[in-house]
């Protein structure tokens, strides 16, 4: 789950990390009031989930509340990479003495969270790590043992910091590590963490991402910071196809189906599975010159209704001429049930299964029964003796052969 910047600020604040006296505003009027309260110069920032705000004109500086209001009015109407803002953040323009970088993220290879700290904040941390490795401190955390302050202290000290700043940075990094653990964050980043003229440390920007799998156990916290759990947070707007397939999947607990078509514009519909099989088959179709209309995943043991539902949605897509129904060898997906589903989809749409299904290649459980059904409707099928690659190739050949 991705968070808007203002939500990340709230999360970080709750964890005891100092933040600026910011205001989250949904109107230009509110922005003016917030700027008045803050006093002095402010920064107005678009609240969208995508990056590139600065470049798109979504971040502006204001010297007066009136300017803040004007900028807010503009930014609230500014679309960035297809996203409209949900509001603006009004931040005091800080008098920064130094910028730091603090993050806690997963190291998959170590299978542990890792603290990352640098006294060269505000810029690309990967660049800093490469060009100034002495200015980057890191330390892995145990998953089981309580987090202790010395761990963050070591990470901070390892990038060369000492004096009063060492203690302050340590407190922030420790709180960040605790936050990451307590809230199942896949990313907990503060960049920059700023030291102000008065010596205080403040998070000028925060970027949090919570693992989707864990959202269910943080509902109260999410509600408290104002997250609408029903609102989807994709980087892009789901298509009708994707939404429809999701609805069909939710309506029936038997088996799992998934469909994606963002970036796919072809004429060959794919009714494929399972996870690894879908990836392999999509590659196989494209490598042989085919143009998939979509990606899909069939998993578990879907009902006829569910299989039919996926096939129908694929067939209803603009430009889809034929479908290829293919999976890796299945153990608990019933071949005959899927066969019924895809044939029923064709029939209900007034299409001839033999013409519409370019190839059916699902070896495995109840395959003999499946073949009987496919024989009855004249659908071309292949058993495990035909590789996934060749099955995909047959589908591509058929659709490109200008079949009727």
């Amino acid at each position: 789950m991705r968070f808007y910047e203002y939500e990340s600020r709230r999360i970080v604040e709750r964890a005891g990390i100092p933040v600026t006296k910011y205001g989250f505003c949904t109107s230009a009027e509110e922005a003016r009031k917030a700027a008045e309260e803050i006093g002095g110069s402010t920064v107005i920032k678009s609240q969208v989930l995508t990056g590139g705000r600065m470049k798109a004109g979504g971040v502006k500086f204001a010297d007066t509340p009136e300017e803040a209001e004007a900028h807010a009015a503009e930014i609230l109407e500014l679309e960035i990479s297809g996203h409209m803002p949900v509001g603006v953040l009004v931040d005091p323009k800080a008098e920064v003495e130094q910028e730091y970088y603090a993050a806690v993220l997963w190291d998959g290879r170590a299978k542990r969270p890792m603290m990352l700290f640098s006294d060269m904040g505000g810029i690309d941390i990967e660049q800093v790590a490469e060009e100034h490795p002495d200015h980057v401190g890191r330390r892995h955390l145990s998953n089981l043992h309580p987090i202790s302050g010395f761990e963050a202290k070591q990470a901070v000290a390892n990038c060369g910091m000492t004096g009063r700043e060492l203690g302050q940075a340590t407190r922030v990094l420790t709180a960040l590590a605790q936050l990451q653990r307590d809230n199942d964050m896949t990313l907990a980043e503060i960049n920059p963490l700023a030291r102000l003229a008065d010596g205080s440390f403040v998070a000028l920007d925060a970027h949090m991402e919570m693992e989707d799998e864990a959202v269910g156990r943080h509902k109260r916290m999410l509600q408290e910071i104002g997250v609408d759990l029903d609102e989807p947070r994709e980087l892009y707007e789901p298509s009708d196809f994707e939404r429809n397939v999701k609805a069909i999947d939710s309506a029936d607990h038997r088996g799992v189906i998934q469909g994606k078509d963002h970036g796919f514009t072809g004429n060959l519909g794919l009714v494929i599975g399972a996870g690894g099989g879908s990836l392999t088959l999509t590659d196989a179709v494209r490598s042989q010159g085919g143009q998939p209309a979509n990606y899909a995943e069939i998993g578990g043991n879907p009902s006829v209704t569910k299989s039919k539902g996926l096939a129908m949605e694929v067939l209803k897509k603009d430009g889809v001429e034929k479908i290829a129904v293919m999976m890796s060898i299945v153990s608990n997906t019933r071949v005959d049930i899927v066969a019924r589903g895809v044939i029923a989809a064709c029939l209900e749409l007034g299409k001839d299964p033999a013409e519409t299904i370019a190839i059916f290649r699902i070896p495995g459980a109840w395959e003999e029964e499946g073949y009987k059904i496919l024989d009855k409707y004249g659908v071309e099928y292949a058993d495990r003796g035909t590789s996934m690659w060749d099955a995909a190739g047959t589908a591509v050949e058929k659709i490109q052969g200008g079949a009727v």
Partner: protein, 84 residues
């Protein structure tokens, strides 16, 4: 090919013999054993829920629950049937 709103019973059909269709105990039993809700107890009579026919998983539980010949599950795609 004729276009239809929703096709039912294109792969599977079931025959429930006249002798048993009015048996309320059997109606309840069939409703209970079928994992895909093909049977319903309709006021003491065995009712077939046609919209679920094609979900039949060929488990044979209905055939076994009924007396011999009472329920026949027909596979329309190859002409064979499950019966006892």
């Amino acid at each position: 090919m004729a276009q239809a709103e929703q096709l039912e019973g294109i792969f599977i059909d079931v025959d429930v013999s006249d002798e048993i269709v009015g048996d309320p105990e059997l109606a309840s039993k069939l409703e209970e054993v079928c994992p895909v809700d093909i049977y319903a107890n309709d006021d003491g009579k065995v009712a077939v829920v046609r919209e679920n026919l094609d979900e039949c998983v060929l488990c044979n539980l209905c055939v076994e629950a009924a007396p011999p010949g009472g329920v026949v599950v027909k596979k329309l795609y190859d002409g064979s049937a499950l019966r006892r």
